[in-house]
Symmetry: C2
DNA sequence: GTCTATAGGGAGATAGAC
DNA sequence: GTCTATCTCCCTATAGAC
């Protein structure tokens, strides 16, 4: 991979980044080739030199979005090493996923906004990439279960859907002036692994037992 | 409130339901008044008898979506009674929220799809309703903390964003042929309260006690 | 209440100059 | 590579008949 990009490659990436911003704000049909061209300092006709239709452009944008997240997460996990605990792997993946979707928020939000509106063939193609990313999370959870870290009856599929829903929603409210990504990632990972509740007080257990048996 | 609806009210509701379905599939700009009219067995011009613009129609749809969820959740909590535990109130609210967004999935999904594209004034108006709903969850969590059920350092704002993100995402993948709403709600509530991990023995004791005494 | 007809505006994509 | 000019199509909203 050469690091030097040709003028053509630079222009193409400029179009893609502009498309992500405009699709994010205006949705699939609301986005015009003229608006993308404006944002990329170009004229509408010129985009067709790089993408032969609006649909081909949006397909490239959708694929870029998921690939950037998957790449960030798998790289972080690799850096963490094979023998990290399930707890550490979950926090690492949560942190990486959050970092990627905040950093590339234009792509993340654009994807969420237009995904339901694009033609079926484009959606199907992108879903293949999403499935590959889902496997990354399935593996994290299954390895943790294999190590005996998880509640035995925990439902890994539901857990994965739960996690990704909460993570992806973050792009809608995250504010750089508020909590940092590390803070959010740590709190989320704590809820995921240990829950919101305080279960260290055995006194409460005894009290609960007493209450339940006396009222029964 | 009379239960008998006039012909006019019925037609108006037919238009609103049709709008939700079409906005869900085609987004804000992608939805045409002709398509909504078709779905409502009407001609495009007739919609203007009920809503004086496309924007007024979409504003009504957005408000309906959030109101239906808030109503379902507050009704369920009320039925549960004042002295229910934080654990029970959370599972109750999770279940009610899921029930509402699955049952009125057209409104839920349409809202998520078009929200970022509607004019700012419409968005602001709908955000006021969302804020009111956020308070419902803030109260649930604060009451649980007041009762000493939560980890003292748990961040209630982050927890709320986490919960609502995971819940709302459910509308995207829920399949009536798969797990039931009750199953999903129970698993989600368990993760929220006790986490995925097995290290909290006391939590499992509490649950066992609750199960045994309620089945006795 | 619901219809038809239409005014007025803007979109995607292509052709061909430079 | 990038531009201008243009073809063809479809939208929102209104007016006025029934």
């Amino acid at each position: 991979m050469s690091k030097r990009l040709t003028k053509s490659e630079l222009s193409q990436r400029r179009v893609l980044d502009a498309a992500a911003r405009i699709f994010r704000d205006n949705g699939y049909v609301g986005t015009t080739m003229r608006a993308i061209a404006d944002a990329a300092d170009m004229k509408a006709g010129s985009i067709y030199y790089y993408y032969k239709s609006k649909d081909e452009l949006i397909a490239a944008m959708l694929d870029m979005g998921i690939n950037m997240v998957m790449q960030t997460v798998t790289d972080s996990l690799e850096k963490l090493g094979e023998d990290a605990s399930g707890r550490d792997r979950i926090e690492c993946a949560v942190n990486a996923h959050l970092t990627a979707i905040i950093e590339h928020g234009d792509y993340t939000l654009a994807t969420r906004r237009v995904f339901g509106q694009v033609p079926e063939t484009i959606r199907q193609r992108n879903l293949l990439l999403r499935d590959r990313y889902a496997i990354v999370w399935k593996d994290i959870l299954e390895v943790a279960r294999g190590r005996g870290e998880l509640r035995p009856e925990a439902d890994i599929t539901l857990a994965r859907l739960f996690i990704l829903g909460a993570l992806n929603w973050t792009a809608e409210w995250f504010n750089p002036k508020g909590r940092t990504i590390d803070e959010v990632a740590h709190e989320f990972a704590t809820i995921l692994c240990n829950g919101l509740f305080d279960e260290n007080l055995s006194a409460r257990i005894l009290e609960t037992v007493a209450t339940h048996s006396s009222s029964a």
